[in-house]
Symmetry: C3
Subunit: 449 residues, 3 copies
């Protein structure tokens, strides 16, 4: 049943990848100037401290990536080793790759600058393949996941560069570039790897046990709590505080809504842990792109209510429909947690962008909508913006999400085809959603517990 | 057995509450000035950053509320979904309500200012009904809990205003206004909802399993670790660092004492997880009101030793007595973790207040005991304090806790009466302490695990 | 089988120890000047805030000590209460003792200064006996552990003083003074307490269950995530940011390597949770001593790859060999997670020290290698350094680890002898690795779950 030789060669390739990373770091990566010792006679003091003022937020994001994502995916009854272990494995590989890939897009003098900012960006990039992994959870080998990650992160870095630096869209919390990209890429891969039509039933291991559901709540609650850090880490000035406030309120409103809608649409009006674990977080995704804008508390709460509703309804009706009709399994329901809420966020960003005025955003326009600087007939053409007007910016927001979807789905289909039709081993239906094919599992399990 | 119609109407009412919140946010809440963009020509830089310097402490408190409280209550063997889920639900509802309620008490020009401080206050307010929930855990419907929360938080905001702004008591870590209020309010509700005398035995589900006890330790350890943030977040200047140090030392001493006393009084001198999960934290409550005072390390340690001892003895002797004689069930023992330690803190605050001199507290007197500014015959009557003397301040501290108890118990009895005698569905004895009446629970549970 | 009287007397002694601490705090410990209120007429503002700028990192370390170590050791199937509970107990005792012991080495005017720095140091000291506990896990009574801790921390403080202040070695992340010391001290105690030759087989409880392994991953992931805080908290200036970056990259590389090597050497090429839980962290230990040096990203990654490889091979081959041939049980494999990686770190520190030039480190030389200031023929003999040259510093690094090993192993043997041959109760073989001898364990366990 197992082919140890294939496994061995997969892991050997990964070791070679790690060694290639080592060589690339050696050739291209250097500490940024502020990370180097000062000249003996320089006056200094607190400037280094200032540089690491985002360290607490970085640590919050670390918890989201490694504990949040990892434990959120432990909900499957016999897939907890893989959920926590592969998350750790993938994230450790991807952060190195992301430092390199994002670095190559911003090289100076042929070298990549390494600073705290690099690893903040790397952690954010790690979220992308972890979201895709959610769609595929339990139906791929670790080698497939890791190859997917390598390709996906490269494409993510390119698409992000395009969206933020070419189209100049706003996407403070990354709902477009991170969440939509990761979700639709993963779903496209899942579509390519879908089971044959006679094997489409949901397996009995594709569900939770009482204990595994509580483990998953560790992931949910840490993601909930630290989401404001994720959304605000790249915001500047007062925009950072608004990102915190808006994200917090949107999450709170989405959470209340999730419980209500879950009870209303579920069997016997009982609450469903799948909704509680996931849809409560939809508010964080849906507010992501616009979190640093002047939404007002009511704007954030409204977005949260919409996101919670759409997400629960997606779990209740859309996911089963996709499984039954498209044979598209989405184990964690990333379409409902990341996909649709990210679309809501993109639409919201177009609406809010269409109403932006210089008078409102003042000095922050430069940070948030750099392409709009110089527009609206203001005298001060600060720093040579493109002078794009509000309607045009709104159009670019929609164009940004459209291009992102196109690249994500195209890249996902291509990746899925590679994983399916080339030499990779594919799991059989009866190997799905269980740890024991890739992990040593305690033998006495069934007797002792 | 279930009445879906009643459930549905309860959840629909909650959705209406959420929408009312949305409208109130729209009508009354505006970003504080520092959260808005600066005028283009303003000179600025780090001022916004300064404003969010408490963000890391806010995040620690978030973890305490959502993970700490949530997992601490997972110790019941079949109530883990409810413990983590209802904590999330209640906290998400309460934080919104608290922003509004506390805002109404400090409006400017008819508007509520929204800033990081608002949501720090909201998180602290969320602790109050979660403490009360601990007393009632497993014996109410979620709808009852949520209605209790709405009323309790409004009353909490009023009592806090009274204690801090009218009586001018010190209560840096909130032991009086948060812990005593939450505990005695919850106990009063529990008294009203107590079982009839022939149903008073402790049910077999009112206990832990091996796994659920370890889940609860997640809550305990996060509460332990972040408690210094809770106590210090509202302290100013050097008082903040003292709050951190005193809380840390008090917790450490309470923890050692808890283990010793637990072993000495328990059956066969074995340690009891209930004590370890809860009484270790009593040091954090007992030092709360006085945590920013000049206690000295020995003062903090002494308070911790007393708190640990009282709390364990409470669990061992007082709680069973109350269950047997008053039919007052206190599922999590909030009287031992929050109630009595808060009383210790209030008494300690009276003792320390009676010894305060201007010479000792210097410029911090204004922050800590504003009503005492101008007393003690000092020449400098700074900012028009009331010139209250030390003995008088001590009296006010005791008056503050007395009024708090009165309002909490009165409010709790009233709330309990409403929950019992109006249209709310009450759980029957055999529905207590189990998730399955409100949650979809995996069917194959007993066979598979 | 149990001797309640012996237990009682042990716990009574511990209470006396806590009271002695109280007295020592009262006699010797005072708030540091910056923690006291300012004189009324002083101009001040942000200086106090600056003092607590390390608070977020302190909290990260708190999580590592209480949640990280505690949950990492829950992997044993029936020892979860002890793992989390005794960690809490020991750490609470040790932090108090460490404030005193480290304070006695730095008294001013007969008094110990208490500030945030004191409790950061105390938390780091708490790691030492927790590492040793890992070697002994499940084979000692709590009283033995606590007595060991008291002695070990005193010796640790002395050795650390010797290494850092007398030998002037660099050890930013404490791999020499904390990890090597804790690991080899614990192994020496384990050697003294080793079973008689006819009882050497590994008990069936000396392993994990499915659930306990996932609990352990909570510990692993929090240690992983916050390790950069542990390594960087004592670094100054830009060295702090380098410590963060180097630790992060080393951990990432060690993690990828761990998965690969684990799969290659394990039975049927399946991944082993023991490796994933522990060896992934070896990168953090191995980079510890040198984390603030100018390693470059490639240096950090290379150290991580070596550490991951050595650690997995240690678990796979060396630990079973030590158990079989030396009867030296090492329950958590601290030799593979802390011992050998710390040796790697010490060797790396000698190599990097041998290449240090003033031109490279500029103003930071004073912080990192104070004994080298004034060397290399530079004109500026800043602050009277010893003018030690690079080769000589490399020698001191090796001397530092050698002396540390000597003191740790000597102290451990002595401690082990005391625990074995004096009045302490020793656990019998069939009492090993189970909670029920010291904890009240739910009775209905086997039936209900």
């Amino acid at each position: 049943m197992h082919t140890p030789a294939a496994k061995v060669s997969g892991y050997v390739v990964l070791m070679i990848v790690q060694i290639i990373f080592l060589v690339l770091f050696w050739l291209f990566v250097r500490y940024e100037k502020t990370v180097l010792p000062l000249a003996i006679d320089a006056e200094d003091a607190g400037s280094a401290n200032e540089h690491v003022s985002k360290y607490p937020q970085f640590q919050d994001i670390q918890v989201m990536i490694f504990i949040g994502f990892g434990f959120l995916m432990t909900f499957l009854r016999k897939y907890g080793y893989s959920a926590t272990g592969f998350t750790l494995f993938m994230a450790a590989l991807v952060v190195q790759w992301a430092v390199l890939m994002k670095g190559f897009l911003h090289m100076e003098g042929g070298k990549i600058s390494l600073s705290l900012e690099s690893i903040i960006d790397a952690d954010i990039a790690a979220a992308v393949p972890l979201i895709s992994m959610g769609a595929l959870l339990g139906r791929t080998t670790p080698i497939q996941l890791l190859c997917m990650s390598i390709f996906e992160v490269a494409l993510f870095a390119a698409n992000e560069y395009l969206a933020l630096h070419v189209f100049s869209i706003c996407d403070c919390g990354g709902s477009i570039t991170v969440h939509a990209f990761g979700a639709y890429f993963g779903l496209a891969v899942a579509l390519m790897l879908r089971p044959s039509s006679d094997q489409n039933e949901t397996g009995k291991l594709e569900g939770a046990s009482y204990t595994s559901d509580i483990f998953a709540m560790i992931g949910t609650t840490f993601l909930w709590v630290y989401w404001p850090s994720f959304n605000s880490v790249l915001a500047e000035g007062a925009g950072g505080e608004r990102a915190i406030l808006n994200t917090f309120l949107s999450l709170a409103a989405a959470t209340v809504t999730t419980f209500v809608v879950s009870a209303l649409v579920s069997h016997e009006n009982k609450l469903d842990m799948v909704h509680v674990q996931n849809s409560t977080l939809a508010g964080g995704v849906a507010v992501g792109t616009v979190c640093n804008l002047l939404l007002g508390a009511h704007g954030a709460v409204l977005i949260g209510i919409i996101a919670g509703t759409v997400s629960v309804l997606g779990y209740r009706y859309l996911t089963p429909w996709m499984t039954a009709n498209l044979r598209l399994h989405d184990t964690c329901g990333v379409h409902n947690l990341h996909g649709m809420p990210a679309l809501i966020s993109a639409i919201a960003s177009a609406i809010y962008a269409s109403m932006v005025t210089v008078g409102e955003y003042q000095s922050e326009l430069q940070d948030i909508f750099p392409a709009m600087v110089g527009s609206n007939g203001t005298e001060t053409k600060i720093m040579g913006g493109l002078g794009r007007n509000a309607t045009s910016q709104a159009g670019y927001q929609l164009f940004g999400i459209a291009v992102t979807l196109l690249i994500a789905i195209g890249g996902g289909i291509l990746t899925g085809a590679v994983l399916k039709y080339t030499n990779f081993r594919n799991l059989k239906k009866d190997e799905h959603h269980q740890d024991e094919h890739y992990w040593e599992v305690p033998a006495a399990e069934n007797k002792e517990e």
